[in-house]
Subunit: 584 residues, 2 copies
């Protein structure tokens, strides 16, 4: 038996008990006549004591020789500490060691195993197994496990069945790139790893399974942006015999349950907002509504006043940044530089200081009088002390730029509080979105999303105007889930594929099984999928998903710890009927 | 709202309520003046009634026109049935339909959606979504979901953390073949899909995670035997600071919990048996101990009596088949033919009938007298009325043959009762096994398994004799789990790799990260993995895993429903820097 207790559980009530502990040497303090060792495991830290009076010389010397991260087992008596430590739960006791057994030695770790470590990202990833010993990472993984248990318990209690769908499926060129898997047994053929279990969950609905969920890995071979992973985890859900309202209620229930059980927060009914409203008010389909700064459209009060920049703009729009009227010239210049950075791309920024005395001071006083600026203040909801920031230009681009500025200002003002949670449904998404490069329409959600009733005909005349039974759940400015009511008849699905540029042959080759299935009594159905990595990070009060993944990959899709991907044997390639074909 | 109730929940207490139901048309009975429809969903069947008196003519006609598997929504009043059906929970009521809404039509399904279907395996797989509508398959999937919830709840309550390990990892030539995944971003390099999360769970132990589990898909590119799948699910577990005893206790607890919660069966402490004992008693390292028929070794009582076949044999061994002394000559001949089938491979079979009067009648009466045969009966535990079946030859082969015969006889005699559960630990497995073809030793469990203390030196002199800290959990003749205490120091691991034929360079290239990790304070650790597919099938009282998998693949690794694997675009191959290289 390696231990009778763990390193987090001994209390005063254990005093005089003889215990056995195992763990890692966190720290040694050697005062000559006494040696203290902090022994650490997953559950906490317990102080060990060796001293000249009560410990044999040999044992004391052996204690002295232990290095950081040595794995040891000790047996000894729990005693009361003379100088107590109220910061840790075991701080009232220590263990007077009688036996010491070194289970394993350790080289000096490449970074300190402390909450604040000296290890950089790359080093931490290479030695991820050491990084996981650190509380922040360890606690994130435990937190993730707790969240998934809550998800499963809640959905199971609601009658959802977790069904595992296959990982070795078929490649479909729609959407992102698939990872493919050559089949040795089927010459020249490939499986693909699922980007999501979408078609399978629809087949489960057709199979009568009715309420399905799965916490499942998904794969996308994308050029990685920051904080994206080639493999990621989804909470994938689908229901049959439902309308949008049923789905929103069911998964609002799940989210409310998580906020309550995990964060101890009771939430009211989630607000809902149409996509169009979100774009107009926040320039963004995943607005952070923990704070205001709603957009004020200024076209009617800012155009035709002789300021050509605004006159030529499709949209003039501003936000009122609370309390920022005191910004200095230098601070405002920095802000202008910020919006002009290539990542944001604004040409410039007009500002209005709303002074405490009710007057306004703007960068365009030449064109606008106090009454004009008062109208701007009204449109943006600015109060005395606020700074109105105004951008203009192409409507879509300008909204995006102002949305970025809004988020930046919120960040700077500390309005994005990690312990505050503001969920929100965005509904009525467009069915299609135009790819500006190719001039082709893509499915905004995916090709299985149903258009709003009666809008199918609009596909012919005004495809961009068609709205879908599609919805996103947004939490603190992040899309944490998205879904739709699906098409469940062959004709509508065929029409949809046609509009997405599939020939009937392509549609049949790729999704024939689904369209066949639609002909055997497919029920109305719909669903949602949550991005677990992000959900967990946000519930954990953070936004970086990487520290909530045990063994993440870097931005080139590499696992730097195991050094994957890697070349494989010639023999292995040959068995797969493949040859490398690398352009020299 | 598509339904107010499901098709399984209406009772007499609902009489006079107006309800809305949705589901599939299971069956229509048309008596002219009245039409009954069985409406089915996941939860059950509710009878709908349309009649000339109370239903409009138009509605009655529409009801008549509904085909099997049409999806309909009905609204109507719950009424008491005149002729009740006690076989179904809703059998006391029916719904008098006032409104009928056809949600989707259906072509005639290719097989009947009944518990006993007319569909063959291949057809059922092609239309798996229809197969899932059948109770046996649907219930199996629901059962599986229930088992996994129980596993998760139990392990979580015991302090285990579920950690997701990566799917895109590195190929290692040891063991079965890996499925590989070409990396587009890392030219000429490949990920591999995990055969198990073995190394990652060990790294989690080194990371201090202490008690880990994961229900996880694993992948093996094997030539498929019957009832094997290229992707399968494991309950993967690992613990640190444990000895074998701790692991056996922890997972005996899990198994006992499952038997109790899922099957309502209380089990005593699981028996334990060494590998050597299992091989001697049952010729098998996963014996079914729901019944006896233990092996009796007969060398000492059957050799040197003039029967050359036995004299020349390494092993003479028999079992007593209960109550089979009455077998006719023809039945016994058939049994001899059975053991001589190539799948079994015995050269012949000697039998002894233990007559009710205490005499014996054997096929070798020429060589053995009644006293000899009485000794055989004693050695095999045969009683009056039993039939002793004796095989002989090479020890290992003969044991395998007699084990197959034992299982076959148990099957024929109905001794393998699907509602009886006999768990058993097999311990002290050999560390290595000799590959007869190559003359090389392989790791019997895997290369990370630790030898028994003090046996490391034996590797040099008698590798086959080394026993490991390895164990299997056997249930009803199936290995449902297996694991070991791992090596946790670099030196032992290097020695092991050397004995398995790795050069130091190969070992470093493939497992360098693990051996590095061992140098930073690796704790003693060990674990176990359960095959979920099989565990669920056995708990479900069946032995075929395929019907416990939603979308299984066939014996060529194909998903015949979606038709995968399949060729991919030339363009896709090019992006991956690959070319097909199929021998013409």
């Amino acid at each position: 038996m390696y231990r009778s207790h763990n390193c987090g559980e001994l209390r005063e009530s254990h005093i005089n008990e003889v215990v056995t502990l195992s763990g890692w040497v966190q720290k040694t303090r050697d005062k000559g006549f006494v040696v203290w060792i902090d022994l650490r495991d997953r559950y906490g830290i317990t102080q060990l004591i060796f001293d000249e009076e009560r410990t044999s010389h040999e044992l004391l010397e052996r204690a002295r020789s232990l290095g950081r991260e040595f794995v040891i087992q000790v047996k000894g008596k729990v005693i009361e500490r003379t100088s107590k430590n109220s910061k840790i739960p075991t701080g009232n006791i220590e263990v007077l060691v009688a036996e010491l057994n070194v289970l394993n030695s350790s080289k000096t770790p490449p970074f300190t195993i402390e909450d604040q470590t000296d290890g950089g990202e790359e080093l931490r990833m290479k030695y991820r197994y050491l990084d996981i010993r650190r509380n922040p990472v360890k606690n994130n993984l435990i937190f993730r496990s707790k969240v998934t248990m809550e998800v499963r318990n809640y959905l199971s209690q609601q009658g959802f069945i977790e069904v595992e769908t296959p990982y070795l499926i078929k490649s479909t060129p729609e959407g992102a790139r698939d990872f493919v898997v050559p089949s040795r047994m089927n010459e020249g053929q490939f499986y693909a790893l699922p980007q999501s279990p979408q078609t399978f969950k629809q087949l489960l609905m057709i199979g009568g399974m009715d309420k399905y969920f799965q916490i499942v890995k998904c794969f996308r071979d994308e050029d990685l942006r920051a904080d994206r992973q080639p493999e990621f985890t989804q909470i994938d859900c689908e229901m049959a015999f439902v309308e949008q309202e049923n789905i929103l209620n069911a998964f609002e229930g799940l989210t409310r349950h998580l906020l309550k059980e995990i964060k101890g927060i009771e939430t009211a009914t989630f607000p809902r907002m149409t996509y169009d409203e979100a774009m107009a008010k926040y320039g963004n389909d995943k607005p952070d509504i923990r704070f205001g700064m709603e957009f004020g459209e200024l076209n009617h009060v800012a155009q035709n006043k002789g300021f050509n920049v605004f006159n030529a703009a499709e949209l003039v729009v501003g936000i009122a940044v609370p309390g920022a009227a005191t910004y200095t010239r230098k601070e405002i210049d920095a802000l202008v530089d910020w919006v002009r950075r290539p990542q944001i791309g604004a040409k410039g920024m007009v500002y209005v200081k709303c002074n405490e005395d009710g007057t306004f001071k703007s960068s365009v006083d030449k064109f606008y009088d106090q009454e004009d600026l008062a109208n701007w203040a009204k449109a943006t909801g600015a109060k005395a002390g606020d700074l109105i920031c105004v951008l203009s230009g192409d409507a879509n681009q300008t909204r995006g730029q102002l949305s970025a500025l809004r988020m930046e200002m919120a960040e700077r003002l500390g309005l994005r509080k990690s312990d505050e949670f503001a969920p929100l449904w965005i509904v009525d998404f467009p069915l299609l979105e135009l790819d500006e490069e190719t001039g082709r329409y893509h499915a905004m959600h995916h090709p299985f999303t149903s258009p709003k009733p009666g809008q199918l005909e609009l596909l012919e005349t005004d495809p961009g105007a068609v709205r879908a039974n599609a919805y996103d759940l947004v939490l603190n400015g992040n899309e944490i889930g998205g879904g739709s009511i699906r098409i469940h008849d062959k004709e509508t699905q065929s029409t949809m594929f046609k509009h997405l540029g599939f020939t009937p042959e392509e549609a049949k080759a790729q999704f024939g099984f689904l369209m066949d299935a639609f002909q055997y009594g497919a029920p109305p159905h719909g669903g949602i999928a949550f991005g677990l990595d992000r959900l967990v990070a946000i519930l954990g009060g953070q936004e970086t998903i990487r520290d909530f993944i045990a063994f993440p990959k870097n931005n080139s899709g590499r696992d730097v710890m195991i050094d994957a991907p890697a070349p494989i044997d010639e023999e292995q390639l040959k068995e797969l009927n493949l040859k490398l074909d690398i352009p020299s």
